[in-house]
Symmetry: C2
Subunit: 190 residues, 2 copies
């Protein structure tokens, strides 16, 4: 079973080392992992042309995969990396197996609340709670936006959270390994 390894670790200085660790761990659990990378990218074009190439390359990896494990650890804000979110949607639309993890143990609501020091306000009807910019804060007892958690878990997957040390925010593989274990149990051994 081929699985695509999605996540913002591609932006780390040691991205290749981290991806190699994830690949090795995935193989240990019986999967054939496919990881994004820019090794086969033609560097001769414009920046936009190179970006398009990487997108096409990564989509081809996803099309060749039977499932995805996505790292939804918050990236530059309280939410997951935009590219990773695209990839989860891309795989869910194809009905492929999807698991995900976050190295932040909090729910999305609590993360946004923490950013604003708890300064959230309920509206008059108390149906919704707003941040100081007057934007409603999702409160569905989920670690991420309901489209991601719903898309994954309604298809039999799971979003695992783990309290990683701050200096291992994008490199701690505890929750990734739990995804591998669950995914193998569901998809390889039955």
């Amino acid at each position: 079973m081929k699985i695509y390894l999605a996540g913002p670790e591609v932006f780390l200085p040691n991205a290749k080392d981290v991806l190699r660790q994830k690949v090795e761990l995935a193989r240990k659990y019986g999967f054939e992992p496919l990881a994004p990378g820019d090794n086969q990218i033609d560097l001769s074009g414009t920046p936009r042309e190179r970006g398009f190439q990487i997108n096409g390359f990564d989509e081809a990896l996803m099309d060749a995969s039977d499932g995805i494990i996505a790292n939804l650890t918050p990236f530059r804000g309280p939410g997951a990396d935009a590219g990773t979110c695209y990839e989860v949607g891309y795989m869910c639309a194809q009905g492929k197996a999807a698991f995900a993890y976050s190295n932040d143990p909090r729910n999305y609501f609590d993360r946004v609340s923490d950013i604003h020091g708890g300064n959230l306000q309920a509206d008059a009807d108390a149906n919704k709670i707003f941040d100081p910019h007057d934007l409603a804060v999702e409160n569905f007892d989920m670690p991420e936006n309901l489209m991601l958690v719903g898309g994954i878990e309604r298809r039999g997957g799971k979003v695992i959270t783990h309290a990683a040390p701050e200096n291992m925010r994008y490199t701690d593989l505890t929750a990734f390994e739990e995804c591998l274990r669950l995914m193998a149990k569901v998809h390889l051994f039955n």
Copy 2:
């Protein structure tokens, strides 16, 4: 042609008004717009169950749509709303028509640079540029992550940017209307 209207305006206090405006404008251009909403949600379950319901409802709207126009205006950070990114990936995977807009005219690289007061550092080989948290900043001359812009534009769509006034960050429909105009030209009149 049915089009799904994706974007973080669902989090505004006046979400219904803004969505109604978008729906009316889309109809003016000849489309049959489908907008996410929680009107038909059973409120009796747990928060997670309600979240799953909304996810299922919105995915059904996307499955019934022939295309998407996504609002990628940055949301709680330099990147687009996570749910909207999921939805763009979901529609691109189905090969459906995708257009998007951002009411922030800057490229992703410049937004991240601005957040850090220009304090970005090139690595030794100058192949990548890192933010103060040692995370590489995408620099592909694109308004968003390459998966989103690549996924949309490689399929014939377009990401439109517009410098909206700050107090109309999520309500300015100039760029949305430009998406409608382009999408109608490509998909309705040829």
